[in-house]
């Protein structure tokens, strides 16, 4: 459902992503782990069609994102790290707008259910977004993604700013979406949540996918060791 084939992105003389290849089938969550500047957000941008690849291709449900960006995006839902809403609209109105942009015919009761499922408190539904905290905006972002009923979900640090309960509820949501045949690609710094929700974990280092780990085959501390080992290698090489 999500496929990268020799995906490469260069910015001038800098190679942000080098020959990245991976596949995320339906019902799976694939998490990218990596330091700042490793290429995680670049990967997301390539799958959203915000950047053209320098080489290779990014495919969503078989559609090449660079060649058919709008068709690919129609199948994709996205939750950014900072969910920016229209401050003069209410949470509900923001959701309604983005849901309609997503092309799905969602009833108002479904939108309300979406907000509830995302964990937003009811009295905030009809308050203007300018009054929302970061966490509340994040929840509306989740509701927007849910409303689209897309086959592919791209997440960029989705749990940043969420309290532990909200993060827990979010992980449960992701599992439910996997159960509905959604393929999820998530970039995050949070090793522990990644292991909790992900099926496979890819470690990105300086634009290269250095290792893929099956979440079920490692413990949290083992994962941390593997991750840090790669990061130390990078630091050592840099020195």
């Amino acid at each position: 459902m999500i496929e990268a084939r020799n995906l490469t992105k260069r910015f001038g003389n800098t190679t942000a992503l080098n020959d990245l290849s991976f596949t995320v089938p339906a019902r799976e969550t694939f998490c990218f782990l990596g330091a700042n500047g490793a290429g995680k957000t670049t990967t997301i941008n390539l799958f959203l069609g915000f950047l053209p690849p320098s080489a290779g291709s990014a495919l969503v449900c078989g559609k090449d994102v660079a060649e058919e960006p709008e068709a690919a995006r129609a199948l994709t839902a996205y939750i950014p790290e900072q969910v920016a809403l229209y401050p003069e609209l209410t949470g509900f109105e923001n959701l309604k707008f983005f849901a309609s942009l997503g092309g799905t015919d969602v009833s108002e009761s479904d939108l309300i259910s979406g907000l509830e499922a995302a964990g937003l408190q009811q009295d905030a539904f009809h308050q203007r977004a300018v009054t929302y905290s970061k966490g509340m905006r994040q929840k509306v972002g989740i509701a927007i993604a849910l409303a689209k009923r897309a086959q592919v979900l791209l997440l960029d640090e989705p749990m940043s700013g969420l309290d532990p309960k909200a993060a827990n509820d979010f992980c449960e949501l992701l599992r439910n979406m996997n159960a509905r045949d959604v393929a999820i690609l998530m970039v995050t710094h949070d090793l522990f949540r990644a292991r909790e929700v992900g099926h496979r974990l890819g470690i990105l280092k300086a634009g290269e996918l250095v290792e893929i780990v099956h979440a079920s085959s490692v413990s949290a501390s083992e994962l941390e060791e593997i991750y840090l080992a790669h990061m130390h290698d990078a630091a050592g090489k840099a020195a």
């Binding site: 069609g49 915000f50 995006r73 950014p80 003069e88 707008f97 983005f98 309609s100 942009l101």
Partner: protein
């Protein structure tokens, strides 16, 4: 998708204080502009009516006196019903749409008295009583609002149409759907500026209610206004699509506004004046006075010459004052002597007009203004045409009464009744408005194409 984007935009506009302010300013200032123009026109027509009525009443009296003399009811005197006193009012009627574009009407002469006592300079009734400071400030008419104010309001509504989305990250959420950045920009600009321009066009329709113009005039006027709005829409679209920073967009748009509305017209004006300076009015005056002085010295010889050229004339009442003939001959001499200067004025004006017609394409604002002024019969060409027509009529009256004046006779009632009211043909609108519209629309298309090729379609 465009509809969805526009629905959101409508919701946002309704809740934005700044946007409501812009619309309020547009509505109030455009309505004021129409009102101001109507107020001006009312005073203009009232003054014209006074001038015409005075002359009409006077000529009624003159005609009655002539009728009485011809019928024998009254005795002939050296002064009553003399042909020298035949006069006609010539008024520069405002166009049906002049209240929307006052143009040159508030400074050019518009009330003349045509008769043998006058020449081309003195036929203009004294009119320079206005406050020159108020004249220099200009009028706030609909044309000014459309050309100068409306683009600023469009820029105010549009410069931030995607920039705040881009900088806040909201654009990522929007563009993660099956919609392009260009679609978003287009939908938002279309709604905002469509509503604004629609409002202004409604006010224009209100302005039309106070006119009885031909359908073609309404269409042309509306066409020029709309094509000017379309140009600014296209320019705004082009610059918004090319940059992600609101302040950069605003700065560029405002720079365009300054250059197109102030800088280029000022430079074009200066250049055209420098290349084709108007002949000196004071020099024209000097020529006229030389002619007058010469005629005063040579009255007797000129009279003899005139009578020799018209052997059929017999001299009438010797008591008729000599200065009647003297003045008539002086005016004839002035016309003769100043003809080359008048031709020079005309040539310089035509050359300036040609220069402006060529250079106006450098500034859509200048182009639109000239088109609107022409449609409203408020440009310098309309005034010149009026003065030229009046000069022709003056010459005709002089030709009619001249023999009688020189020979100290009268013209007959029949001859007098053949003088038709002064009703010159309106200067044709010409193809200028249509050409202007076509140019503005073509320019808009080029801008749109440029933005499609060079503009960003992604964040």
């Amino acid at each position: 998708m465009t509809t969805i984007l526009m629905k959101l935009e409508w919701l946002r506009l309704r809740r934005s204080l700044a946007s409501r302010l812009v619309f309020a300013v547009a509505l109030l200032s455009s309505l004021y502009a129409v009102w101001s123009g109507l107020h001006w026109k009312q005073a203009y027509l009232a003054g014209q009516a006074l001038h015409e009525t005075q002359i009409e009443e006077r000529m009624q009296g003159w005609r009655t006196a002539l009728a009485d003399i011809e019928s024998g009811k009254a005795e002939s005197t050296p002064y009553d019903a003399r042909p020298m006193d035949v006069r006609q009012a010539a008024s520069h009627e405002p166009g049906e749409l002049t209240h929307l574009a006052i143009g040159y009407r508030d400074i050019m002469p518009s009330r003349l008295t045509l008769g043998a006592w006058r020449n081309e300079i003195s036929m203009v009734e004294r009119y320079e009583f206005d406050n020159p400071l108020i004249l220099s400030l200009g009028r706030f008419d609909f044309a000014f609002f459309l050309i100068v104010v409306l683009p600023v309001l469009m820029i105010a509504l549009s410069f931030d149409v995607v920039a705040s989305d881009l900088t806040s990250g909201r654009a990522r959420l929007v563009l993660s759907n099956a919609v392009s950045l260009r679609q978003v920009i287009y939908a938002r600009l279309l709604l905002r500026n469509g509503l604004l321009c629609g409002l202004v066009l409604l006010v224009l329709l209100v302005g039309f209610l106070f006119a009885e113009a031909a359908a073609s005039e309404y269409l042309l006027w509306t066409g020029v206004c709309m094509s000017y709005m379309v140009f600014w829409f296209a320019l705004i679209f082009c610059l918004v699509a090319a940059s992600r920073q609101a302040e950069a967009v605003a700065a560029r748009l405002l720079a365009c506004w300054l250059v197109l509305i102030f800088a280029i017209p000022a430079v074009v004006d200066s250049a055209v004046q420098a290349l084709n300076p108007p002949p000196s009015k004071l020099a024209h005056l000097s020529v006229a006075r030389i002619a007058e002085a010469e005629a005063a010295r040579q009255t007797a010889a000129l009279t003899e010459g005139f009578l020799a050229d018209h052997p059929d004339l017999s001299v009438g009442d010797e008591e008729v004052p000599g200065y009647y003939r003297g003045t008539f001959l002086a005016n004839e001499r002035v016309r003769e002597y100043t003809a080359p200067t008048v031709a020079d004025f005309r040539a310089a004006a035509e050359a300036r007009e040609a220069g402006l017609s060529a250079l106006q394409y450098l500034s859509p604002a200048l182009l639109a203004q000239r088109a609107l002024y022409r449609l409203a019969q408020a440009d310098a060409a309309a005034s010149r045409h009026f003065l030229d027509s009046a000069g022709t009529r003056l010459a005709e009256i002089s030709e009619l009464v001249g023999p009688a004046v020189i020979s100290r006779n009268r013209i007959s009632l029949q001859e007098y009744d053949q003088i038709t009211p002064f009703d010159p043909e309106t200067l044709p609108v010409g193809a200028g408005a249509v050409t202007g519209m076509a140019y503005l629309l073509a320019l808009s298309l080029l801008l749109a194409l440029a933005s499609l090729r060079a503009g960003r379609n992604s964040i």
